[in-house]
Structure formats: structure tokens, C-alpha cells
């Protein structure tokens, strides 16, 4: 298994000196496992804890109890030295990549930054590697010198994917990666994820509120509500035979064109 979570909990505490102490359990008793090359979808509504779960896996937020093992490594125990390696192996792609690109860096240099981790690339080699990545995600290599604001939403999302792939990650964390895109662009990006997964062999955790996107992309699914997993399993089984009231509600709420 590439990633194994066992009874993962995260509690946000606030208050203290003046305000009354209070705490919010963001995720509770989260357990799942993810094999290499497999896609896992996480669905739930706002406040279900799906974003906290992502942040925990990215080691942006520490967890309070339970364990999270990435390729044999307890994520909480990763120290500053091992962090660089961990950051290369787990890469996020967010809903709005605009805010994660430095507006003054060209697309090419933002993507090339990841490659710098290898340390031995010449300028020329790096340029070639970036051109290959741009080509892989279906972008014109001429966009190398473009600035983020010059790209359309779909192009920017492709650039974000290229940047994530630059370090050859084993796990890609996708947070609503197509929610800001038009449907015809969304389909291009979703197809691209599938193609790239075949070519690169990474695992995917896809967090979204859009159930059909999960059924298209992911073999397995977690349904979250109020911080806990209410249902999990093969995506097709959960969609066809939801066991809990909440999963039934989610499936029924999906508006679908007549077949």
C-alpha cells in the first residue's frame, strides 16, 4: 500500500485567554488505504472534512491521533530533512491554480523550479524537460515564456498539472481540480488525468463535491459527512447500492440528463 490511514483524527481548538475554549472535530476516525496507481475519490459537502483530510495528507496540518503511513513512513514523523523528499513524492493540484503561480514568473520557470530539486540540470536540459512536460499536458511549448495571467483557466490548470508532474510524484492530490472550468474544458482535463496516470503510474486522491466526476475517474470512493467516513468501497457499488441514507441522498441529488 502506498498510503494507509488508521483512525486519523484532527481537532481544531480555539479560544483560550479571553474567549471560551471550544473545539471542532474536523475529521474523526478516518481509515482507508490506497494502492499504487489507484484512484480514490472523496466526496462530501462543505464542512465534511474533506479539505482537512487533504491538508493532513500533505502534511500542511498535523493530525492529533491515529496514524498516516506513506510508503512505510509515518507522516507525522517526517522531519525537515526528509520533508524535501516527501514533497516530491506527494503533489497537490488545487481548484484555482492562478493563486498558486507566482504572477511574475513565466509558466516555464514555475514548472522548472520543481526540476531544480535534481540540482544537476543545465539550463538547456531544464528547458527541454519543461518543454516535454508542457507537451505531455497538451500545452504549446511556446507558452514557456507566458505569464500566468495570459493563460485561460484550462491552460492554467494544465500548467499546474505539469508543475506537479515535474518532480515525478507517486501520489497526486486533486482538490476540486475542474470545478472552475467549463464543461468542455473539464472533459479535456479529466481525460488528461487518466492518460497521465497510465503514462506515469501515480495514485490519485480526488476531492470533489461532484459525484459523476468521481465515478468517471476513481475505482474507489469515500463518502464523508461531518468529519467521518459514512460509506466507502468500489465507486460503482456505492452509486448503485448506497447503504447509508446520506449516500442515497447524494446519489439522488445528482441532476442527470435523460439517457
Amino acid at each position: 500500500m502506498l498510503l494507509v490511514a488508521k483512525n486519523l483524527c484532527k481537532i481544531y481548538r480555539r479560544g483560550g485567554i479571553f474567549a471560551r475554549r471550544s473545539s471542532i472535530t474536523a475529521i474523526k476516525d478516518i481509515s482507508f488505504s490506497l494502492a499504487p496507481g489507484v484512484s480514490l475519490g472523496v466526496v462530501g459537502e462543505s464542512g465534511s472534512g474533506k479539505s482537512t483530510l487533504l491538508r493532513t495528507i500533505l502534511k500542511l496540518t498535523p493530525y492529533d491521533s491515529g496514524s498516516l503511513i506513506f510508503d512505510g513512513l509515518e507522516v507525522a514523523a517526517i522531519d525537515a530533512r526528509a520533508m524535501r523528499n516527501f514533497r516530491q513524492r506527494v503533489q497537490p493540484v488545487f481548484q484555482d491554480p492562478y493563486s498558486t503561480f507566482n504572477p511574475r514568473f513565466s509558466i516555464g520557470s514555475s514548472i522548472g523550479l520543481g526540476l531544480a530539486g535534481d540540482g544537476v540540470l543545465s539550463t538547456h536540459q531544464r528547458r527541454d524537460a519543461v518543454a516535454r512536460l508542457l507537451d505531455d499536458v497538451g500545452l504549446d511549448p511556446d507558452l514557456h515564456s507566458a505569464l500566468p495571467h495570459e493563460l485561460s483557466g484550462g491552460q492554467r490548470q494544465r500548467a499546474a498539472i505539469a508543475r506537479a508532474l515535474a518532480v515525478k510524484p507517486e501520489l497526486l492530490l486533486l482538490d476540486e481540480p475542474t470545478s472552475a472550468l467549463d464543461v468542455s474544458v473539464q472533459s479535456q482535463v479529466l481525460n488528461l488525468f487518466k492518460d497521465l496516470q497510465q503514462a506515469y503510474g501515480f495514485s490519485i486522491i480526488l476531492v470533489t463535491h461532484d459525484l459523476p466526476v468521481v465515478t468517471f475517474m476513481c475505482e474507489n470512493i469515500l463518502v464523508m459527512k461531518a468529519g467521518v467516513i459514512v460509506e466507502s468501497g468500489k465507486t460503482a457499488d456505492v452509486v448503485d447500492r448506497p447503504q447509508t441514507e446520506y449516500a442515497r441522498l447524494l446519489v439522488a441529488a445528482v441532476p442527470e440528463p435523460p439517457a
Binding site: 459537502e45 462543505s46 485561460s152 484550462g154 467549463d182 464543461v183 468542455s184 473539464q186 472533459s187 479535456q188 479529466l190 481525460n191 487518466k194 463535491h209 459525484l211 459523476p212 466526476v213 465515478t215 468517471f216 475517474m217 460503482a236 452509486v239 448503485d240 441522498l249 447524494l250 446519489v251 439522488a252 441529488a253 445528482v254 441532476p255 442527470e256 440528463p257 435523460p258
Partner: protein, 330 residues
């Protein structure tokens, strides 16, 4: 859907009839740029009509033009809009104020930003009544409570004393819907009213719209980019591409028998809950900008079925059932 109490009456005069609408954007040093070209559409009584298109297709600007809320530098340069015996585009600002909110209202997309953060929700919901009538304050308050109750806000009496930030996203959207309903307008324009909401809350808003149609007989022009949503809600649908209507028909015609290659591409590119193919259909290329002049059919450069005659722009030709597609192939 065949319940006569809720089914639209398409034999009578249309409630709204837009003909040949051209909206232009004035760009300094460049002259007017068309945002919509020759748009014609109808909304009949008790009908929920969908207007679907991707961003930049010109769908929202059509709604704004109907209630005289086009931003500066954007204007209607041709066309008429017949609504209850008048041309909406010929009304002056004063006459339009009497229509807006009273006879045609708008449910906007972003509920939080549409509400005034420093004004009580109850006051805001009652504003159209205060502006359009001389109803005494006590009576306005009573009606506001009824309206909030109508959109299923629990404990409406107390909730009138809340500020917008004390409402959840779904409740804010309901409050705006209540405001749009306050004058019982025959036509309500809904501009992506559920995009920011969770799916289960989205479902409740859709249920509410259906309920309102059958209870009050109101018609809706529902603007959205979400095909699933439009297909589950609307009786009839217009598909927009790059400022033009490229196909129109009943919900079943559009989804079971799409004719225009763009509509087909759009439907095929949406993932389904079940039985997805290994890959989604894609439409190559990008939607042209408003100023981009394309010879012939505007979809031609991206169309998988384009042929020689497409260099001449086809017209929106309707078959006898009313299903129309702006394409030579049909």
C-alpha cells in the same frame, strides 16, 4: 411533467418574446464589439426555460439587458423584447424601474455579495414592496415573514432580524429568491442561482422553483452552464455558443436527439453517474472571443463535421415540432 396544472401553455401569446437581439461592447479605439448576435427567444406562461452556454457565450448579459442593468459601455444595439405589450428595450430608465423587481425580477448568482451586509435580511427582502407600493411598514413586515416561510426558512419571524452573514449560503439564496418573489412577478430570471451551493441544497432550491411555478404560475428563464441541472429542471432549452443561439427545443429533444454538433459535444463531455465510457468526448480548440470574426458558422473551426458549405452561416432552422438547430446538416 404532463400535469396540466404545471405544464406551460404554448398556444397562447408568449410572455416574453425577444427578437434579433444584438448586444455590443464599446472598446476604446476599436468600435463596437458584438457580444450577442441575432438572439431570439420566447418564454411562455408557466414555463421554465433554460439558457445554457459556457462562460463567455453571452447568456448572463441577455438577462441583464432584459431588466436594463447592462454595465457601462455595453448596450443593446438591435432587437426588440416584447413583454406584456411593451418593448423592454424601448423603456426609459424611469419606466424600467417600474418593471424591474415588480414584473421581472432577478435571482443573482452570488447570494452573499448580492445582499447588503449592514442591512437586516427582513428589510432587504421587503425592499421591492416598499419601492413599488405604498404598503404600510407593518403590512410589509407581515408579507416578508410569509415570503421567508414560503421559501422554507424556519422561524421566519425571528430570522427577519438577522444580518446576511448569519444566514448559511443556502438560506441567503432562499432569501434572495424570496425577494425576487415579493412582488409576484410573472417572469423571474435566475442567473446560475445554485452554483455556489452544495448538491443537496441545490436540489432544494430546484424543488422550490418547481413549486413556485405551479403555485404562482410564474415563468422562469434559468441561466446555467450545468447541463445536468438544466435537463432536470427546464421544459424547453436554448443552447448558446459564442454569442449565438445554436439550438433550441424541448428538454427531451435537446438531450435525446441533439442536432447541433456543439450541443452533442457538450452533452458528451459531461461525466455521468453510471456507465461512463473510458474517455469523455471533448470539443477541440477554444470558444472564440466576442470580437473574433469567423467566416460562416461560428462553430466551424472546432466542428468535427464541418464541410465546404459551412463557410456560409446557416440560419436557425426549425422543424415542424419546433426543434431548431443553426447547422446545415439538419
Amino acid at each position: 411533467m404532463t400535469d396540466p396544472a404545471v405544464s406551460p401553455n404554448r398556444d397562447a401569446e408568449p410572455l416574453l418574446e425577444v427578437e434579433g437581439l444584438r448586444i455590443e461592447l464599446t472598446v476604446r479605439g476599436r468600435g463596437p464589439v458584438p457580444i450577442t448576435r441575432d438572439v431570439s427567444l420566447r418564454v411562455y406562461q408557466k414555463e421554465i426555460v433554460g439558457l445554457i452556454g459556457e462562460s463567455g457565450s453571452g447568456k448572463s448579459v441577455i438577462a441583464k439587458s432584459l431588466i436594463g442593468m447592462l454595465p457601462r459601455r455595453i448596450r443593446v444595439s438591435a432587437g426588440t423584447s416584447r413583454f406584456q405589450g411593451r418593448d423592454l428595450f424601448a423603456l426609459n430608465a424611469h419606466a424600467m424601474r417600474a418593471v424591474r423587481g415588480a414584473e421581472i425580477s432577478l435571482i443573482p448568482q452570488d447570494a452573499l455579495h448580492a445582499l447588503n451586509p449592514v442591512k437586516l435580511v427582513g428589510k432587504q427582502v421587503g425592499e421591492p414592496i416598499e419601492v413599488h407600493t405604498d404598503t404600510p411598514a407593518v403590512e410589509v413586515h407581515k408579507q416578508v415573514v410569509q415570503l421567508l416561510n414560503r421559501v422554507h426558512i424556519s422561524d421566519p419571524e425571528a430570522r427577519t432580524q438577522d444580518y446576511p452573514h448569519q444566514f448559511s449560503g443556502g438560506m441567503q439564496q432562499r432569501a434572495l429568491t424570496a425577494m425576487a418573489l415579493s412582488m409576484k412577478p410573472p417572469l423571474i430570471l435566475a442567473d446560475e442561482p445554485t452554483t455556489a451551493l452544495d448538491v443537496t441544497i441545490q436540489g432544494e432550491i430546484l424543488k422550490l422553483i418547481r413549486e413556485l411555478r405551479s403555485d404562482t404560475g410564474a415563468s422562469f428563464l434559468f441561466i446555467s452552464h450545468d447541463l445536468g441541472l438544466v435537463s432536470s429542471l427546464c421544459d424547453r432549452i436554448y443552447v448558446m455558443y459564442a454569442g449565438e443561439i445554436v439550438e433550441s427545443g424541448t428538454r427531451d429533444e435537446i438531450f435525446s436527439n441533439p442536432r447541433h454538433p456543439y450541443t452533442r459535444g457538450l452533452i458528451g463531455s459531461v461525466p455521468r453517474l453510471r456507465n461512463n465510457a473510458a474517455r469523455l468526448l471533448t470539443i477541440p480548440g477554444r470558444i472564440p472571443g466576442p470580437g473574433d470574426e469567423i467566416e460562416g458558422c461560428r462553430f466551424r473551426p472546432r466542428c468535427p463535421m464541418a464541410e465546404g458549405r459551412c463557410i456560409v452561416s446557416p440560419s436557425l432552422e426549425a422543424s415542424k415540432g419546433g426543434h431548431a438547430a443553426k447547422c446545415w446538416l439538419f
